[in-house]
C-alpha cells in the first residue's frame, strides 16, 4: 500500500516539471483508515494565504495561482501532507498518533476530539470485550477519570451506579443520563418490587443490552455537550452507539466463553468455633466479674454454667457405637458456592453502497455464589441502513429476554445468606440434624431460628424481563448541507417478578405465600432535527434545531396469594388472594438548538440552548431553560508553535460553562393527595399520603470546565481537566416533625421533597496515554488516569446546617457522605469499656468518658476518596495480546453498619463473632493500659463510633486478558478469517487494608451491611471470524 502511494506521488512529482498557469483544480481527500471522505480538511496553497476546505463528500475546488505547485492538506488528527497540485487529485491522509483523532459522539452530532470544546472521554469496549460482564457499565470502571462505578451487590444482573464528577443531587438522582443511538433510554433498576425490597441487587436495565453489540461509549462530563440534554443532564451523559453494518463482504463472527467465579475478597471473616467459644466464655466471666461483682471462682462457675447456651459444639451425627459426633458448623462452606457463566454470540454484518446491515444473537448464563442467584439472557439485534436518493432510512431493533434469580441480601433479613453467614448463624448453629435432615426453627440454634439452606430451597425471587427497543429514522437531505431528520423510538419493557415463600418456609408458613408483580415500562420518544453543516472558506459552521417529546408510563398489577392447600402456587389455587395495580407516568417536551463555529480548525466556539417542559412540576414551574457556552483554541496549529512541534506535537485549550438540570425523581410530588387503599375493617379508606410541595422546581446544575489536551512527540497524549459543578435548588426529602401527622407515601418517613440547598463538586482529572511501542509485530500502549472530586454541601435550608440520619450526616461545609458518631478514644484502663471523646465544644472536649450520654457525636469521617483511577496496559506481540487493567482508590472511608456485631458481647453471643475480635488485644482487667480492644462482656451495648470506620484504600487487578490469535495463513485454509483463544480474569487480585472486611467497591454512601460482595471471575473463550 505504502509502495503504491510512493509511486503515485512520484508520478505526480514528474508532472510538476511543466510549469502551470493559474489553474482551477478539484480533488478529493479521504482517510486511509476507513476510506471515507474527510470533511472539513483544510487545503492551503503553499506560499500563499489562499485555501479552502473539503465539503461533505471530501471534495474541494481551488484556484492555484501561477508559479505555485504545492498544496498543504491538513486535518486534525490526521497527518498533514504537502503534495503537488493536480486536477482530479486524490489525497489519502493517514491517522496521527494520540487521542485527538477520536470521535466524540454526543448524540446531537459527532465531533473529532480535536474539535470538541467540552470534556468527554471515549471508552473502547473492544479492549474489554473479553471480560464477561452482564452490564456495559461495568466496563467503565477505571477507564475514564472522574467516573466512579459502584454496585450495591455482586449478584448477576444487579444494578450498577455510576457517578460522573461526584454527586450533584441528593434525591432526584445521581445517575447519568444514558443515551443509546441518540435516544435517552431507560436505565437504573427495573426490578418489579424494586431494589431494596426483596433483594438489594435489583435488576439493571442496562443488563438487557448485549455489550458486544456496542460500538463505542462516550462519557460526557461537562456542560458543553450535556446542556443539550437539558433537564436530565446534570449528572453527565453516557452516550452508547451500537454497531451498524459496513459496506463489503458479509462477515460472520462467533464468540463464546465459559468460566467460573468466587468471592473476590475474604468477606467479613469470622472466628472459628473454638476461638468463639473461648471468647464467649471470657465474655460470660467478665460479665460475672465486672457486671455482677462476683468473685473469680463464682465467675468461672457462672461461665461454666452458661457457656453451652451460646457456644455448644453441636452434634452432627453418631458413630457406629452410637456415640455423638460433635463438630462446628462452617457456614461459609455451606452457603457460598462457585458461580459459573457461559456466553455465546454470533453476529453478521455487511452491505453494499446503498444498504448495510448488522445483526447479532447472543445467549448468556451466569450463576452467582449463593443459592438462587443467577441470570440468563437472550438478546437479538438488527440494524439496517438504506440510502435512496436524498433519503437515508435507518431501522434498528434490539430485543432481550432475561431471567434473573435473586436472593435476599443487603440488610439483616432472615433469608439473606450473607447476613446468615456473617451474623445470624454461628459455629454452634446447625443446618442439618444428626440424622441428616434439615434443622428448622429453634433446632437450628441460630439467633433468628432460621436455617438459610432450608429456606433457600423453599423460597425464590425470580424476575423475567422482556424488552424491545425499536427505532425508525428518516434523514432527508433537503438541499445542500441542510438535513431534516425524523426519528421515533419505542422502548417497551415488561418486568415480571415472582416472590415465593412456600408452605414450608419460615416466611410463608403455614400455608405459603406468592407475590407477583406484572409490570410494564414504556417510553415513546420523538425527535425532529434540522441540521446544517457547511464550510465557507476557513469558516466552518454546524447548526442544529430540534424538537423532542417523551412519554413514559409505568404500569403494574400486583397479585398476592396465600393459604395454599397444596404445593401448586398459582393464584387460582390460593385460599386467599388480593390484588392491586397502578399506572403512573410523565411527559417531557423540549426545544433545542446548537451552533458550533470554528475558524481554520484553530478557534472554536459553541453555544447551545434547550427548553424543557415537564409534567412532574406544577404549571407555573413547568418550563426550564438550559444552555451552555464553550470555546477552544487549538494552539498546536499555530505557526508560532512550529519550533517546538518536534516535542509538543499538538495542543488545545478548552473552556465551557453551562446550566443543566435534574428533574424530581417522583412524578406527582407537587400534588397533595388523599390516597385510597388505607384499609380497615374490609374497607378501603383514604388519607393524606405524601407531603406535597406545590413549589417544587428543577434542580439547577452549573458546570464550569477548563481543559488542556497536549500531545508529545506524536506518541504521548495528556488530557487535563479542572471543573466546578454547583447544584442549587437541591430536592431533599426534608425530615419534618411527625407531630402534624403527615408522612411520605413510599415509606413511613415524615419527609417532604423541598428544593433546599446546594452542593458543590470540584476536582481535576488527568489522563495520560502513551503508545510506547508501535511496530508491526509489537505494540504496547499504556493509559493512566486518575482524578479527585471534592464534594461539599454548601446550603441546606433556612438556618438548618445539618441533617442527621443514623450514622449519616449531611452538614454544610462537609462532603455529603459524612459519618456521624462518637469519636472513639480507645479503652478505659479502669473498666475496660470503650472511651469516647466528650467533644462538647468546651475545654473539656478532649477529655474522655465511658458514658455515651456524656459524649457528643461529631463528624468522624467521610466516604470521599483523595484519588481514584485506573491504569491500563495493552500489549500485542506477534500473535499474542495481553491486557491488564488496574483500578485504585486512596483516602476514602467506609462505615461498617453491621452494628449488631459491635456490642463487644450481646448479639455476638447468639451469632457469629467477627474475626476482628481478638482476645489477645482485649482488656484483661483493671489497670490494663496496653489493651487495644475493650472488654468483651455479655450484655454490652454497641455505640456508633469512629471505631467502626474502615479505610477503603485499594488496588485491584480489575481485569486481565491474555489472547492468542492464530496467523491468518493457518486459519484461512479452514475458511476462517480470524481465530483467537483467550483467557480473562476480573477482580483477580485485590490489595486492601485488613480492616476493610467488605468489598472495596461498595454502596455509594459507604455504609455497609451485608451486601453480596464483588466476584472474582475466570473466563476462557474463543473468537472465530468467517
Amino acid at each position: 500500500m505504502e509502495k503504491r502511494l510512493m509511486m503515485f506521488l512520484a508520478a505526480l512529482f514528474l508532472c510538476v516539471g511543466t510549469a502551470l498557469a493559474q489553474t482551477e483544480i478539484s480533488g478529493t481527500v479521504i482517510s486511509s483508515e476507513d476510506k471515507q471522505p474527510v470533511v472539513g480538511a483544510s487545503i492551503l496553497v503553499v506560499g500563499t494565504q489562499m485555501g479552502t476546505v473539503t465539503d461533505i463528500d471530501g471534495n474541494f475546488h481551488l484556484t492555484v495561482p501561477e508559479g505555485k505547485t504545492q498544496l498543504r492538506i491538513q486535518y486534525v488528527g490526521l497527518q498533514t501532507q504537502t503534495v503537488p497540485a493536480k486536477d482530479g487529485m486524490k489525497v489519502t491522509l493517514k491517522p496521527e498518533a494520540g487521542s485527538l483523532d477520536e470521535v466524540i459522539v454526543t448524540g446531537y452530532g459527532n465531533f473529532k476530539k480535536s474539535s470538541f470544546t467540552g470534556a468527554a472521554a471515549n471508552v473502547d469496549p473492544g479492549k474489554l470485550a473479553d471480560v464477561p460482564v452482564a452490564s456495559v457499565q461495568d466496563k467503565l470502571a477505571g477507564s475514564v477519570p472522574g467516573v466512579t462505578v459502584t454496585s450495591a451487590s455482586g449478584a448477576p444482573g444487579s444494578v450498577s451506579n455510576i457517578r460522573i464528577r461526584g454527586m450533584g443531587s441528593i434525591n432526584a438522582g445521581n445517575d447519568p443520563l444514558y443515551v443509546i443511538d441518540g435516544t435517552p433510554m431507560l436505565s437504573g433498576d427495573i426490578n418489579g418490587f424494586g431494589q431494596g425490597n426483596y433483594n438489594e441487587a435489583g435488576t439493571n436495565a442496562l443488563a438487557t443490552l448485549n455489550s458486544n453489540d456496542i460500538e463505542s461509549i462516550t462519557v460526557i462530563k461537562d456542560a458543553a455537550a450535556a446542556s443539550l440534554y437539558g433537564s436530565r443532564a446534570a449528572n453527565g451523559v453516557i452516550v452508547i452507539t451500537t454497531k451498524s453494518g459496513k459496506k463489503g463482504k458479509t462477515h460472520v463472527d462467533f464468540r463464546s466463553d465459559w468460566g467460573f467465579s468466587n468471592l473476590a475478597i475474604d468477606y467479613r471473616p469470622v472466628l472459628g468455633g473454638d476461638a468463639r467459644r473461648s471468647l464467649l466464655y471470657q465474655g460470660l466471666k467478665n460479665y460475672a466479674l465486672y457486671g455482677e461483682g462476683k468473685s473469680e471462682a463464682d465467675a468461672i462457675t457462672f461461665a461454666d454454667d452458661n457457656i453451652d447456651d451460646f457456644a455448644k459444639k453441636p452434634v452432627v451425627g453418631y458413630d457406629a457405637s452410637g456415640k455423638a459426633i460433635n463438630a462446628w458448623t462452617d457456614w461459609k462452606k455451606l452457603l457460598i458456592k462457585t458461580g459459573h457463566h457461559q456466553n455465546y454470540q454470533v453476529s453478521l454484518s455487511g452491505g453494499n453502497d446503498n444498504t448495510q446491515f448488522y445483526a447479532s444473537l447472543s445467549y448468556m448464563k451466569q450463576t452467582g455464589i449463593f443459592a438462587n442467584q443467577g441470570m440468563e439472557r437472550f438478546t437479538g439485534n438488527a440494524n439496517l441502513t438504506h440510502k435512496f436518493g436524498r433519503f437515508v432510512l435507518t431501522y434498528s431493533s434490539l430485543f432481550t429476554k432475561m431471567n434473573q434469580s435473586l436472593t435476599s441480601d443487603g440488610g439483616a433479613s432472615y433469608g439473606n445468606p450473607i447476613a446468615n453467614y456473617a451474623f445470624m448463624q454461628s459455629p454452634s448453629s446447625i443446618a442439618y440434624l444428626p440424622d441428616g435432615s434439615f434443622a428448622s426453627g429453634p433446632e437450628t440454634n441460630s439467633i433468628v431460628s432460621v436455617n438459610p439452606i432450608y429456606e433457600a430451597l423453599h423460597t425464590y425471587d425470580k424476575t423475567d424481563i422482556k424488552r424491545a427497543f425499536n427505532t425508525l429514522k428518516l434523514d432527508w437531505n433537503i438541499w445542500d448541507a441542510l438535513h431534516l431528520s425524523e426519528k421515533v423510538t419505542y422502548d417497551y419493557t415488561s418486568n415480571n417478578e415472582d416472590v415465593l415463600w412456600d408452605r414450608y418456609s419460615n416466611d410463608g408458613g403455614p400455608a405459603g405465600n406468592v407475590q407477583r408483580y406484572n409490570g410494564s415500562i414504556s417510553q415513546l420518544n420523538g425527535q425532529t432535527q434540522l441540521s446544517y453543516a457547511k464550510n465557507f472558506g476557513l469558516h466552518n459552521i454546524d447548526a442544529l434545531l430540534g424538537y423532542e417529546t417523551e412519554k413514559y408510563i409505568v404500569k403494574y398489577n400486583y397479585l398476592n396469594g396465600s393459604d395454599y392447600p397444596g404445593n401448586l402456587y398459582e393464584f387460582s389455587n390460593a385460599g386467599t388472594t388480593r390484588a392491586s395495580s397502578d399506572s403512573r407516568g410523565y411527559t417531557l417536551a423540549s426545544w433545542l438548538g446548537r451552533v458550533n463555529y470554528n475558524y481554520d480548525n484553530r478557534y472554536y466556539a459553541g453555544v447551545s440552548f434547550r427548553r424543557d417542559g415537564s409534567s412532574r412540576l406544577a404549571e407555573e414551574n413547568r418550563w426550564g431553560n438550559f444552555w451552555s457556552l464553550s470555546a477552544a483554541w487549538r494552539f498546536g496549529a499555530e505557526k508560532f508553535m512550529d519550533p517546538v512541534k518536534k516535542v509538543l506535537s499538538d495542543g488545545k485549550l478548552r473552556l465551557s460553562y453551562g446550566v443543566n438540570g435534574t428533574l424530581p425523581g417522583n412524578y406527582y410530588d407537587y400534588m397533595s393527595l388523599y390516597k385510597y387503599g388505607q384499609y380497615y375493617n374490609g374497607k378501603s379508606g383514604m388519607a393524606i399520603v405524601g407531603i406535597a410541595n406545590p413549589n417544587l422546581k428543577w434542580e439547577k446544575n452549573r458546570a464550569f470546565n477548563v481543559g488542556l489536551d497536549l500531545t508529545f512527540i506524536d506518541r504521548i497524549s495528556v488530557t487535563f481537566d479542572y471543573y466546578v459543578r454547583t447544584t442549587s435548588d437541591l430536592i431533599y426529602d426534608l425530615p419534618m416533625s411527625a407531630v402534624p401527622g403527615y408522612y411520605d407515601g413510599s415509606s413511613t418517613a415524615t419527609t417532604s421533597p423541598i428544593n433546599v440547598g446546594s452542593l458543590r463538586n470540584n476536582g481535576y482529572e488527568v489522563t495520560i496515554q502513551s503508545n510506547n511501542i508501535q511496530k508491526k509485530d509489537f505494540s504496547w500502549t499504556t493509559m493512566l488516569n486518575f482524578g479527585h472530586n471534592h464534594n461539599k454541601l454548601t446550603k441546606i435550608y433556612g438556618d438548618e446546617n445539618q441533617i442527621i440520619s443514623g450514622v449519616r450526616i449531611h452538614k454544610v461545609g462537609e462532603p455529603y457522605y459524612s459519618f456521624y458518631g462518637f469519636e472513639y478514644a480507645g479503652v478505659d484502663p479502669a473498666t475496660g469499656k470503650e472511651l469516647f471523646y466528650i467533644n462538647d465544644g468546651t475545654s473539656n472536649a478532649r477529655n474522655t468518658t465511658t458514658d455515651p450520654n456524656k459524649a457528643n457525636k461529631v463528624i468522624i469521617g467521610n466516604h470521599e476518596t483523595k484519588l481514584e483511577g485506573g491504569f491500563t496496559n495493552n500489549i500485542t506481540w506477534k500473535f499474542i495480546d495481553f491486557g491488564l487493567n488496574f483500578t485504585f482508590s486512596l483516602g476514602g472511608k467506609a462505615y461498617d453498619a453491621a452494628s449488631w456485631q459491635h456490642d463487644n458481647g450481646d448479639y455476638t453471643f447468639g451469632g457469629q463473632v467477627p474475626a476482628y475480635y481478638d482476645v489477645n488485644k482485649m482488656w484483661k482487667g483493671p489497670g490494663d493500659t496496653s489493651a487495644s480492644q475493650p472488654v468483651f462482656q455479655y450484655g454490652n451495648t454497641s455505640q456508633t463510633s469512629s471505631r467502626w470506620l474502615m479505610p477503603t484504600d485499594y488496588l485491584r487487578l480489575k481485569s486481565l486478558t491474555l489472547g492468542f490469535t492464530a496467523p491468518t495463513l493457518w486459519v484461512s485454509h479452514l475458511g476462517l478469517s480470524k481465530a483467537r483463544a483467550f483467557f480473562s480474569a476480573s477482580n483477580l487480585l485485590t490489595w486492601k487494608s485488613k480492616d476493610l472486611y467488605v468489598d472495596p467497591e461498595m454502596r455509594v454512601d459507604g455504609v455497609c451491611t451485608f451486601q453480596t460482595p464483588g466476584l472474582r471471575t475466570f473466563t476462557f473463550g474463543i473468537e472465530l471470524g468467517f
Partner: protein, 503 residues
C-alpha cells in the same frame, strides 16, 4: 410519514400533554365532598389507629409491648423469640435514636391528624349533603368518633412521654397538643401533662355529650360506652376517683354489656364466639389480608411459632406470673395461656406461657381482632376508684364481680373489710395481662416493678442489667425518649427531651 404523525401528534397536545395524574389518589382540596367521602376518611382514620406492617408503632404492636414488656408479668421470650419484643424488655436504650425503631410517636399523631381533618370537614359547612338528615347524622357521628380517637391518641402519648399525672399533678411536660390541622412544616413544642389531660377530657366529654356516638356500634368502631370506658381510664390515671367511679358505673349500668362468665371466658376471646361481644367495648377489626398487620401485628408476636399456626413467639409469661395464676387452680385465666407445642430447649417444662387473647381466626392469628377496651377493665377501674375514694363496699362489690366470673373458688372473694389496694391491683394484673396496661398501672400507683432479684429467682428471664431488674417511676427509663428522628427535625422538642437520654 408515521414518524411525523406521531411527533406532531404529541406536539399538538399543548398543555394537556403535561396533565399526568396518579391512579391512586385525588387532590386533597377536593377529596372530601360529602358524607360518603367523610366515611372513607373515617376508614382511613381507623386504619391509622390499627397501623400496618410498616406502621407498628401504636396499637398494631408497640403500644402493647410498651405496656407489657416493661412489666413483670410478661417477658420477652429470649430463648425462642425473634427480638421484636426485646426493646422495652431489656431497656438497654440510652439515646433518643434508639427509639427511632420502637418509639410510639408517629402513628398516634397520624390518628390525630386524620381526626382533625374529619372534624374540620364536618365543621367546615362545605359538605354537599349536610342538609340531608341521614347524611348529617353520619357526619356528626364520624365527627364524634374523631374526637374520641384524638383524645385516645393524645392520652396514650401523654402516658408514654409525660410523668404519670399523679406524680406531680400534671405539672411536667406532656406532649405537643394538636387540636387542629397543621401545616407539615410546623414544629410544635410540648404542653404540660395537665394541659394534655384537660384537652383529652374535653374531647371525650364533647363526644359523649354530643349524643352522636352509637350506643351499640358496629364491631371495630368507637361507640358511646367505649368512649366512657376510656374516660374512666383517663380519670383513674388522673387520680380523679369520683369521676372515674361515676363514669365506670355509667358503663357498668347502662352499656348493656356483661362480664364473661367463668365458663365462657376462654372461648370468648375468639372473635366469632357468641359471647365475644359481651365484654368487648372496642377492638380493632381485622377481616382480611388487606387490613391485617401481617407478621408485625401484636397477635403474631404473642403466638408461639407452631407449624400449623405460626407466630413469632416473642412474648411469654414470666415464671412468677405462671406461679401466681397457679395459686388458684380454679381460675380460668390460666387457660388463656397455651403450653408450648414444642420446647426444644426445655425451658418451660410444660407451663402455659403463650398468651392467647388474640386467638387464631381462620387458622391464623393475623386475622384476630385486637382488643383495646373491655368491660372487665371498667369494673376494675370502678373497684379501684371506689377504694381510693374510701368506698370499700363498692370496691369489694365490683372486684367480686370480676372474681366470681373468673374462679369458682369463693375464698378468692373479698369483703369491704378485707379489701386492699394490693388485692385490686393483683386482680387487675391477672385480668388485663397482655392488654398493654400493666406498666401504666404500676406507674400511676407508684409500684416497683421487679422482674427478678438474683440468679436463683431469675425464672425464664434473660440476663438483664441490674438497673432494670427492679425499678420504679424514679428511674429515667420509665419515660420514653422522643425519637431522635423527631427531635432532629423539630428543634423545639430537642430542647424538651426527657432527661437522661443522649440524642
Amino acid at each position: 410519514m408515521l414518524a411525523t404523525a406521531v411527533l406532531f401528534g404529541l406536539a399538538s397536545c399543548g398543555d394537556e400533554f403535561f396533565d399526568q395524574t396518579p391512579s391512586d389518589g385525588v387532590p386533597s382540596g377536593t377529596a372530601i365532598k360529602n358524607s360518603e367521602d367523610l366515611g372513607t376518611a373515617r376508614t382511613g382514620m381507623y386504619a391509622a389507629l390499627k397501623g400496618t406492617s410498616n406502621f407498628s408503632d401504636y396499637y398494631g404492636q408497640q403500644m402493647f409491648l410498651y405496656g407489657e414488656m416493661h412489666g413483670e408479668d410478661l417477658q420477652y421470650n429470649s430463648k425462642y423469640g425473634s427480638n421484636r419484643a426485646s426493646f422495652y424488655y431489656k431497656m438497654e436504650y440510652t439515646s433518643a435514636s434508639n427509639f427511632n425503631a420502637y418509639g410510639i410517636w408517629q402513628s398516634p399523631y397520624i390518628v390525630i391528624q386524620t381526626a382533625n381533618h374529619i372534624i374540620e370537614a364536618a365543621d367546615g359547612g362545605k359538605l354537599t349533603d349536610a342538609n340531608d338528615a341521614d347524611a348529617k347524622a353520619l357526619i356528626d357521628q364520624y365527627r364524634a368518633e374523631a374526637l374520641v380517637l384524638r383524645a385516645m391518641a393524645t392520652f396514650d402519648l401523654t402516658r408514654v412521654y409525660g410523668k404519670t399525672y399523679t406524680e406531680d399533678n400534671g405539672a411536667s411536660l406532656g406532649v405537643p397538643l394538636v387540636t387542629k390541622t397543621l401545616e407539615a412544616t410546623e414544629k410544635p413544642g410540648r404542653s404540660t401533662v395537665a394541659e394534655c389531660y384537660t384537652q383529652v377530657i374535653k374531647d371525650l366529654n364533647e363526644a359523649i355529650n354530643s349524643g352522636k356516638l352509637a350506643t351499640s356500634p358496629e364491631v371495630g368502631y368507637m361507640g358511646l360506652y367505649a368512649a366512657k370506658a376510656l374516660l374512666s381510664r383517663v380519670y383513674l390515671t388522673k387520680g380523679d376517683w369520683a369521676d372515674a367511679l361515676s363514669t365506670a358505673e355509667d358503663v357498668i349500668n347502662n352499656s348493656g354489656n356483661t362480664l364473661w362468665a367463668a365458663d365462657e371466658y376462654v372461648n370468648a376471646w375468639k372473635k366469632d364466639d357468641k359471647n365475644h361481644s359481651k365484654e368487648m367495648l372496642f377492638e380493632l377489626s381485622i377481616t382480611n389480608s388487606n387490613d391485617w398487620n401481617d407478621r408485625n401485628g401484636i397477635a403474631y408476636l404473642y403466638a408461639e411459632n407452631r407449624p400449623s399456626v405460626p407466630g413469632y413467639g416473642d412474648v411469654c409469661a414470666t415464671k412468677k406470673f405462671v406461679e401466681l395464676l397457679a395459686e388458684d387452680p380454679q381460675d380460668v385465666r390460666a387457660d388463656v395461656f397455651l403450653a408450648p407445642s414444642a420446647d426444644k430447649k426445655h425451658v418451660f417444662n410444660g407451663a402455659k406461657v403463650y398468651l392467647n387473647k388474640m386467638p387464631a381466626a381462620n387458622g391464623d392469628v393475623r386475622y384476630s381482632n385486637v382488643p383495646i377496651l373491655r368491660l372487665s377493665e371498667v369494673y376494675l377501674n370502678a373497684a379501684e376508684a371506689a377504694f381510693k375514694s374510701g368506698n370499700t363496699t363498692k370496691a369489694a362489690q365490683y372486684l367480686n364481680d370480676i372474681i366470681k366470673n373468673r374462679t369458682s373458688d369463693t375464698a378468692q372473694q373479698v369483703t369491704a373489710a378485707n379489701i386492699t389496694l394490693q388485692r385490686i391491683l393483683l386482680e387487675r394484673r391477672k385480668e388485663l395481662v397482655g392488654e398493654g396496661q400493666r406498666f401504666f398501672d404500676a406507674m400511676r400507683n407508684n409500684e416497683t416493678i421487679t422482674r427478678y432479684t438474683n440468679d436463683a429467682d431469675r425464672g425464664w428471664h434473660d440476663i438483664l442489667t441490674t438497673e432494670v431488674r427492679s425499678y420504679n417511676r424514679d428511674f429515667f427509663k420509665s419515660l420514653a425518649a422522643i425519637p431522635s428522628r423527631e427531635t432532629d427535625a423539630n428543634p423545639n422538642l430537642k430542647k424538651q427531651q426527657n432527661p437522661g437520654y443522649s440524642n
